[in-house]
Amino acid sequence: MRGIDKIIKATKQDVEQVFRIVFGRDDLELFPEMTARDVENWDSFHHLNLILALEERFGVRFSAEEIASMEKVDDLFWLLGQRGVDVSW
């Protein structure tokens, strides 16, 4: 695992804001078991946009396997945690 220089605290709302921008939906709300099926347009292309936006927003990088393995939003929060972004629900 990569070394982590610092731990960043983030909230569910911070992540939610990124989702809202990527999917163009101002009313989108995250919940732990949320998957691509719960969000209109969450296809592979939007998945990439989401990853890119999250990487930019929190200054992290995900590997291709990690990107592919992210199924539900809780996985994403866990992965962010692995990169030093501590997201609280």
């Binding site: 070394g3 982590i4 220089d5 610092k6 731990i7 960043i8 605290k9 983030a10 909230t11 911070d14 804001q17 990124v18 921008i21 990527v22 163009g24 592979s44 292309f45 998945h47 990439l48 946009n49 890119l52 936006a53 930019e56 927003r57 291709a64 990107i67 592919a68």
Partner: protein, 620 residues
């Protein structure tokens, strides 16, 4: 793993304000969007901007644009980031409709007269065959299908007049610059595709090499993971940058923004100040600090040969500047490259405005090159439409910064083609409602000029006094009234004492005009003062003021209006103002001309300004 807690920085959405008002006022939201968004450095902002623009009705964006273009993007990869970036970068000036061809449908699209591309009737076509697409993601280094490209382009060109931009393939990530298979493949691909474009399109071939754009990026430009999962050929940030670069090029081919370059002389095209140092001391040697100035001269020379108009815009004695051109043979730029010399001591904004009128070109056709931040600021404040190069301190970087603006390239090379493109452009311009180059009338018609006429009172007295004491140029009488004097004129019901707030679509200039007229007979009035701040000269504000005055006088039952012109060293600008409005000269001495106007029943021409009655607020 070290742990130290850092509070999360919140992400401030730069479009928050615009988003708030988009529902109730889409056009204001769009204006706000254009002012606030730098979308190019951040993917989140870019996404946000793209999403936001989709909420703005098409008509609002169309209204703001000077032209419309249909652009077709063809290629062997996902083009959606490029397409969004292209449309974002072309707007607000050019409203674009973009057709993105399906992957690998580019051949059919080009050759089939019934294809989706043909039905779309593009004004311009972009073909991008990415290296990753040509090599199955870098796994198979097979030669690009040069013959197929050539034939498809030739077939398309025989049927359509639309220019085609061929984007050359990007380097493979594996390239080292040496002699690996990847390097050899890449070099061959670039060569064979540019040759295919040249053979297929003959002199109409336009190519764009993505490498300089990729090099200009701060971060990585390649991202194989995007290829593997979504056939995105470059990092999305790089796709955006390439889309933006394409927008520049398309603009330069179809509706070039810049037609005129107005440039300063001292410390801009030569080192030193000619009036102080003398022509022979100017720095112009390629071997020392002169190099940057010479590079800029070379750039200007190239622009002139591409048909751009050059105007020297310098605060100097004209003879000094001319002497420098004559005496210094090493100058690349010669006087016959210049169309106009605006060399004097007047504010540069005025000279530039004068040049725009003489050339009959809109101010947005001008690029200003000036080393002085003050002069740049002055012009920006007075003429915000002028594009201003933000020159760095180091003259060596002048030319690259100016080239980086992307407004001087003229991608079409041959004369024949230049003519054809020009015809094409003219035809297109006629079809569209508005043009990038406007006559003064068109310019004024689109200006949305508004004049709020306010009686001078305690609320605006300070500003009125300031104008009265400072305005030199557009000032008929240059009467410097004292505060007491002005206050008593303003309180007299038999005196017309107004100030005017002037605004147009470029902004609010604040209170920038004064007119005072007093009763000098049973049915006659005399104009005591008529002045305009130089900020609002040239927009027919005076027409609106005179018309406002006329209506006021008619209500008072006045039938005659006298006016006078008192010449000073600085107010030559208005020497002919009253005759222009059909005032008759009744007495003429060296230091005073008196005029009379007797048709007060007939409105003054005021075609462009909306006159609004205001109260005394708005001391701005």
């Amino acid at each position: 793993m070290r742990s130290g807690e850092v509070a999360s920085t919140t992400y401030a959405d730069p479009l928050a304000e615009a988003k708030k008002i988009v529902e109730e006022s889409p056009s204001n939201a769009y204006e706000l969007f254009l002012q606030t968004s730098d979308v190019w450095s951040s993917f989140i902002r870019f996404m946000s901007a793209v999403q936001f623009l989709q909420k703005i009705p098409k008509e609002v964006r169309q209204k703001r644009a000077i032209a419309q273009l249909k652009v077709a993007l063809l290629g062997n990869c996902t083009l959606s980031y490029m397409s969004d970036a292209l449309s974002l970068a072309l707007g607000p000036r050019i409203f674009s409709e973009i057709y993105s061809g399906d992957f690998d449908q580019w051949v059919m699209n080009l050759i089939d007269p019934e294809s989706a591309l043909a039905k779309f009737e593009p004004d311009i076509v972009v073909l991008y065959l990415s290296s990753l697409g040509l090599t199955s993601g870098g796994t198979m280094l097979v030669s690009p299908p040069a013959d197929q490209i050539e034939d498809a382009l030739r077939t398309f060109a025989a049927r359509s007049r639309s220019p085609v931009i061929t984007v050359l393939p990007e380097p493979l990530l594996e390239c080292t610059g040496g002699n690996s298979d990847a390097d050899r493949w890449y070099r061959e691909a670039v060569q064979s595709i540019s040759l295919a474009a040249k053979k297929g399109l003959a002199e109409r071939a336009i190519t764009l090499d993505p490498v300089p754009t990729l090099l200009s990026l701060k971060g990585e430009w390649a991202a194989p993971r995007y290829w593997n999962s979504a056939k995105v050929p470059l990092h999305p940030i790089a796709c955006m940058a390439l889309g933006r670069r394409l927008a520049q090029m398309i603009e330069n081919i179809t509706y070039p923004r810049t037609k005129v370059i107005a440039f300063d002389c001292d410390n801009t095209i030569w080192g030193g100040v000619v009036g102080e140092d003398g022509a022979s001391a100017l720095l112009l040697s390629p071997f020392n600090e002169g190099a940057g100035y010479l590079k800029l001269q070379r750039l200007l020379k190239e622009a002139a040969s591409n048909g751009l108009i050059l105007v020297a815009l310098s605060k100097n004695e004209e003879r000094n500047v001319v002497e420098a051109f004559q005496k210094r043979g090493e100058m690349i730029l010669k006087t016959n490259d210049l169309s106009l010399l605006k060399v004097n001591w007047s504010p540069k904004s005025q000279n530039l405005l004068g040049a725009a009128q003489e050339l009959n070109l809109g101010l947005d056709s001008f690029l200003l090159i000036d080393d002085s931040p003050f002069e740049r600021g002055e012009i920006h404040a007075a003429l915000p439409e002028v594009l201003i190069a933000d020159l760095p301190n180091n003259p060596d970087e002048y030319a690259s910064v100016i080239n980086g603006l992307g407004v001087l390239e003229r991608p079409v090379v041959s004369d024949e083609d230049a003519r054809r493109t020009e015809l094409y452009r003219q035809e297109h311009a006629r079809q569209s409602a508005r043009k990038s180059v406007v006559s003064p009338e068109e310019f004024l018609r689109d200006l949305q000029l508004e004049i709020v006429a306010m009686p001078i009172d305690a609320n605006n007295l300070d500003r009125a006094l300031q104008l009265i004491s400072k305005t030199n140029q557009f000032n008929l009488t240059t009467r410097r009234h004292t505060r007491e004097n002005l206050a008593s004129l303003a309180s007299d019901p038999d005196v017309y004492a107004y100030c005017y707030r002037v605004s147009d679509r470029f902004g609010d200039a604040g209170v920038t005009g004064i007119c005072v007229a007093y009763r000098d007979g049973e049915s006659s009035f005399q104009i005591d003062t008529l002045l305009l701040s130089c900020r609002v000269i040239g927009r027919t504000v005076e027409n609106a003021i005179l018309e406002h005055l006329r209506r006021w006088l008619v209500e008072k039952g006045v039938s005659q209006l006298y006016g006078e012109y008192l010449p000073t060293a600085k107010n030559g600008l208005v020497s002919n103002l009253l005759p222009r409005f059909d005032f008759t000269l009744i007495s003429d001495t060296d230091n005073r001309k008196v005029y009379k106007y007797t048709h007060l029943d007939k409105p003054f021409t005021n075609s462009f300004a909306k006159i609004i009655e205001g109260n005394g607020e708005g001391d701005r």
